[in-house]
Homo-oligomer: 346 residues x 2
């Protein structure tokens, strides 16, 4: 009986696919799940024991803060399609102050890149960087050095090329100075996007790169798809394990790798994508310039790379959050085409 119903769903699914309704069609997973990877144990000593009432109406429990803590681990959620067409899994790494939610449903409720690539037969591993989201975070400054950074709701609006720079935000979004033609779903999505922001440190690159490297060693060979802050993480991890990173898709990388070891990238094909409004921004011409210079240095050591400035190929209006922009499918298709050219799709 269950099987008959399953069959019916499947027939409907195939019918919907045939009719071209890819967005609404069901899709089959071989498996999905999650795990944590990496981290280390740290001992804390000499603190007083506390009594904690964990739940109102519960029973108080003694909590001894002295002892060993598990810290700097990383959360990874994976989705394996039944009909695998990507030759390798794609690892999606998010940017600063965010989590793997970046690649899920867009803030205005459309499908994100996780579903987009999964529907096309790619296995996807979507992680939360160390000290973000489901990876958890540790005592500071005892374990994590320094303070976390919290962002106001206006900060990403003005810094992510959604609004026209400083002072462009207005809580009444209809009065905010949005960059003309911007593809970010401001009215329907910006306030939801602020809900996706999480505190972040600026002092945790070393454990973050360590955890990402362990992830690559566990689940690769693979494609890395990195965004913003994870750009430099992608470069560094590819430099550490060029045997396991078969392609590096850099979506507006916010930094570079180890310039002294660019030759490590000679067999890693790289695609760097930049959105719109770069020239008029206070910071992005330098960030993009540094990224391109790094890729050029890698090319001198034998690496193949492509830089796509989206406006130059007729894709206009992209903010820094390209995977959430209204035309996120168009940008995904550009990545898909490049991956096919690398022989990574069957």
């Amino acid at each position: 009986m269950a099987i008959n119903r399953a069959w019916l769903a499947v027939v409907l699914a195939a019918g919907a696919l045939a009719a071209g309704c890819a967005q609404q069609a069901p899709f089959a997973l071989q498996d999905m799940g999650s795990f944590h990877i990496g981290g280390r144990e740290v001992e804390i000593k000499g603190r007083p024991v506390k009594e904690v009432l964990f739940t109102a109406g519960g029973v108080p429990a003694k909590v001894d803060p002295n002892g060993i803590y598990q810290v700097e681990q990383m959360y990874v959620q994976y989705f394996i399609p039944a009909n695998r067409r990507g030759a390798l899994p794609i690892l999606m790494w998010h940017g600063g102050g965010l989590t793997g939610v970046t690649y899920e449903t867009t803030p205005d409720g459309r499908e994100g890149w996780l579903n987009w690539f999964l529907r096309r037969g790619w296995s996807v591993y979507n992680s939360d960087a160390v000290e973000r989201g489901r990876s958890g975070w540790a005592m500071f400054p005892d374990i994590l050095p320094g303070d976390p950074v919290f962002l106001t709701i206006e900060n990403p609006f003005e810094r992510f090329r959604i609004g026209a720079g400083e002072k462009s935000f207005n809580r009444d979004l209809s009065r905010a100075k949005v960059l003309p033609g911007n593809q970010f779903p401001v009215q329907d999505g910006y306030m939801n996007f602020t809900r996706q922001n999480v505190p972040r440190w600026t002092t945790t690159d070393v454990p973050t790169i360590a955890a990402y490297t362990q992830l690559v060693e566990k689940v690769c060979p693979c494609v890395l798809l990195v965004h913003s802050q994870s750009g430099p993480f992608g470069f560094r991890v590819a430099q550490a394990r060029p045997d396991l990173v078969r392609a590096l898709v850099l979506v507006e990388p916010a930094g570079i790798g180890d310039i002294k070891a660019v030759d490590r990238l000679k067999d890693v094909p790289m695609l760097a994508i930049y959105g719109d409004y770069i020239e008029q921004d206070a910071r992005w011409p330098t960030i993009r310039g540094n990224g391109v210079k790094f890729l050029e240095a890698a090319a001198k050591a034998g690496a193949r790379y492509e830089v796509v400035d989206l406006p130059k190929v007729g894709i206009r209006g992209n903010s820094h959050m390209l995977m959430m922009d209204r035309n996120n499918g168009e940008v995904a298709q550009l990545i898909q085409n490049w991956l096919e050219k690398q022989g990574l799709y069957r």
Copy 2:
């Protein structure tokens, strides 16, 4: 071409189902995605502007900490099966110091309750409570009152009825005093379980209940499946919206609801499940006793409830983390049977 391959996958899937390999068989999703819900805006004033280098090798950015913050929102991830057999979605709410990861893959790599119920045709909404995981957290004590609680690796071992109470933990797990017959996957899973722990506050019940209530108002009528700290949240939210909560599955609830409003539960069927080793524990006889008393009070107001002490029905060895225990499928089946009895499965 893509469709032919999809069909092939589907035929294989149906074959595997027919062969009874439910764990390994593919399953079809109608949709999956995520959203944030709830929260509020808070203004912070009078702080100095900082310059932050977000990414090594990047370009410093001014960060003005003054302004409006989005806080106390909640993250929800949903999975809708193609072949829906549950009459209503199940909302899974995790316990203290944890996130929605509770219901995903078990710490030793087996399928968790999220997949278990999804494979049987239930839509599942799995959330991270306010200030945990992908919900993010806010400045403290400025916005979140008090300090976060961090747990050592030994704390859950001794408090969650895995080990035999205080001083039962040993970092060399082969020398730890595990409760005899315990079903928690200690050797293969306990250290991974410690990676799932996240900091938590004990002062955030009000915004947490508010966000859960908004979630229920958005996606229900539904079944609530709650664990430990979310036990009292489940009671409270069911009391707030008994018209939307059609069944309440309480897995070792750590607290109770509003005793003055038990009549609000008169039309909400309730199932409370308790694991093993309760009597010999320092806190659980009281916690269980309070829970049962609350249910009895609700029954006097007309509510229907069932209390299942697992050892009394022959299911032995369960820790507080029943959804991760080796026999998690057996406990899930007991919940499934009860839901079927409530007429919630077709």
